[in-house]
C-alpha cells in the first residue's frame, strides 16, 4: 500500500474512523518479555467484561472499521477469547491477533483454521532459541515453533511470524526469511520501541545506525516483508519504504487497552497520550471528540527537523520513541538515520525519562521450563 503526498496530508488531518485499531484484550500474560510495550503480566481487575467487549465490537462494526489488531498481554488467556474474535468475524470485522503461541495446541489450531477473516501473528525475537529466549524467556522459542507446527498441521494457511528488530535479531534477517519460507508464512518485522518495559532495554537493544541502514536496504529489496509501517523513520535514507510513511497516532491509528482506555497509538500507553475511556460514551465519541486527538490532527511543528531536506520522507519519526527517550516531540527521532537524534540525546544535560504508566508487570520473575 502506498499513498501520494496529498493523501498523506489528508490522513494527517484524521479519518472518520481508524484504519488500524489495536485492542489489547488483557494485561495478563504467561510470559514476561523484556521489551513488552504494555508492561503486561498481571490481569487488571477492571478489564472489560465479555458483554462490554462484544458491545465494543458492535460499535467497531458500525463505524466500519475494517479490521482490528488484537494483542495483550496474551489475548488467548482470556476465557472468552474465541467468543470475542468469532463475534468480530461474524460482523465482518477482520481480526489480526498477536500471540506468543503458547496456547495454540492442535485443538486451538484447528478451531482457528476454520475461521475466515483471521490473521495470526506469532512472535519470536530470534531465529534460534538462544537469541529469542534471551528476551522472551526460557523455552518460549520452542513453544512458538510448536504453535507454528500446529497451525501448519491444521492447514491454517498463511500465518505471520512477527519479530521485533533488536541489535541481535537484525543480524538474522536471512534466517527469519528462511524460517518463514519453510512454513509458507509471511515475515513481519517491527521496530523496537522504548515503550513499556522496553524503556529499560532500549539502550542496549536498539539497532545501531549501521544496522538500521542495512535493514532499510534489506527491506527495500523485499516489499513482501510486512512492517506495519514501523520503519518510516528509515525512509529518510532515500526511496520510501512501502506504507503510509507517517505517524498515524490519533489520526489513522489508536489503541484501546484492556480497561477501555484509548491511547493515541500502541506505543504510548501513558497518561500523557490518554484520549479517554470507551466506558463513558463509547469509542466513536473518543475518536471524534478527544482534545488530544484533535490536537494531533492539527498541522505539526517540525521543530528541529524543519530545516532537514528529508523531513518530508520521515516526518520527524516516531512520537513514542522520542517521548520515552526523554526527547521533545519537536526533536529528531532518537534513531534518526543522520544521527541528529543521537546528537539531541547527547545534548541533554539531564536525562529525564517518563516512567511507563500503568505497569502490570509481575513482581516476581517468571521462569518457564521447556516442557
Amino acid at each position: 500500500m502506498s499513498a501520494d503526498v496529498t493523501l498523506r496530508d489528508r490522513f494527517e488531518r484524521g479519518l472518520a474512523a481508524p484504519i488500524c485499531l489495536t485492542w489489547e484484550l488483557t494485561y495478563a500474560c504467561n510470559l514476561a518479555c523484556t521489551h513488552c510495550l504494555s508492561s503486561s503480566g498481571r490481569r487488571d481487575p477492571k478489564e472489560l467484561t465479555t458483554p462490554e467487549a462484544l458491545g465494543l465490537i458492535d460499535e467497531i462494526a458500525a463505524m466500519q472499521i475494517f479490521y482490528i489488531n488484537i494483542g495483550g498481554g496474551e489475548p488467548m488467556i482470556r476465557s472468552d477469547f474465541f467468543q470475542i474474535i468469532e463475534h468480530a468475524v461474524d460482523r465482518h470485522v477482520g481480526v489480526k491477533f498477536s500471540t506468543n503461541g503458547t496456547r495454540i495446541d492442535p485443538v486451538a489450531a484447528r478451531r482457528l483454521a476454520a475461521m475466515d477473516y483471521l490473521d495470526i501473528q506469532i512472535s519470536i525475537d530470534g531465529a534460534d532459541a538462544a537469541t529469542s529466549d534471551k528476551i522472551r524467556g526460557l523455552g518460549t522459542y520452542d513453544q512458538a515453533r510448536r504453535a507454528m507446527d500446529n497451525l501448519k498441521d491444521a492447514n491454517f494457511g498463511q500465518f505471520k511470524i512477527s519479530v521485533v528488530m533488536t541489535r541481535d535479531s537484525v543480524e538474522q534477517l536471512d534466517a527469519f526469511e528462511e524460517l518463514a519460507r519453510g512454513y509458507g508464512a509471511e515475515l513481519r518485522l517491527t521496530r523496537l520501541r522504548p515503550s513499556g518495559r522496553g524503556v529499560d532495554v532500549w539502550d542496549q537493544l536498539h539497532p545501531t545506525r549501521q544496522q538500521n541502514r542495512d535493514l532499510y536496504y534489506w527491506l527495500l529489496d523485499r516489499p513482501n516483508v510486512l512492517t506495519g509501517d514501523s520503519f518510516f523513520h528509515l525512509s529518510a535514507l532515500g526511496t520510501p519504504l512501502d506504507g503510509l510513511n507517517l505517524c498515524g497516532a490519533g489520526r489513522v491509528v489508536c489503541l484501546i487497552d484492556p480497561v477501555g482506555n484509548v491511547y493515541a497509538c500502541p506505543f504510548v500507553i501513558h497518561d500523557e497520550f490518554l484520549a479517554g475511556n470507551i466506558r463513558a460514551a463509547g469509542f466513536d465519541a473518543v475518536w471524534t471528540n478527544s482534545e488530544l486527538f484533535r490536537s494531533l490532527r492539527e498541522p505539526g511543528n517540525p521543530g528541529a527537523c524543519g530545516s532537514c531536506g528529508s523531513y518530508d520522507a520521515c516526518r520527524g519519526g516516531c512520537m513514542a520513541a522520542k517521548f520515552f527517550t526523554g526527547l521533545e516531540l519537536t526533536d529528531p527521532d532518537p534513531e534518526c538515520v543522520f544521527g541528529h537524534g543521537e546528537t539531541a540525546l547527547a545534548a541533554k544535560r539531564v536525562e529525564i525519562r517518563p516512567t511507563p504508566s500503568p505497569d502490570h508487570s509481575r513482581r516476581t520473575k517468571v521462569i518457564l521450563g521447556t516442557r
Binding site: L15, F66, H92
Partner: protein
C-alpha cells in the same frame, strides 16, 4: 474470474462492488478494504464513490458513468473503474 488488466477492462460489462470489499466514506472520498487480499484502496473523490455505489443499478459500467458524469470527464472515470477492477475492488456481477 481473474481480475482484468487495465487495458482489458470491459466497460460494457455489468460491474459491481465486490462482496468481499467494505467501503467507508471519508472526507476525501472513501477507503475500500478487501477482506480477501487484505489490501486498502483509496478512492480519491466523492463523485467516484457515487459512481461505484451506483454500478449495481445500471446495465454496464459505461451506462453508470453516462448517467452520473459529465461527458468530458467520462473517460477518466472509466479509467478509475478499470484500476478498481484490477485491484479486485469491483467484479462482474
Amino acid at each position: 474470474m481473474s481480475a482484468p488488466t487495465l487495458a482489458s477492462f470491459d466497460a460494457t460489462a455489468a460491474w459491481q462492488l465486490s462482496e468481499q470489499v467494505s467501503l467507508r466514506d471519508e472526507s476525501f472520498g472513501a477507503l475500500a478494504y478487501h477482506h480477501g487480499n487484505r489490501r486498502l484502496v483509496f478512492l480519491k473523490s466523492r463523485e467516484l464513490v457515487e459512481v461505484v455505489r451506483a454500478l449495481s443499478g445500471h446495465e454496464s459500467a459505461r451506462a453508470t458513468v453516462a448517467a452520473l458524469v459529465p461527458e468530458l470527464q467520462r473517460s477518466n472515470y472509466e479509467a478509475a473503474l478499470a484500476s478498481l477492477a484490477v485491484s479486485d475492488v469491483l467484479n462482474v456481477r
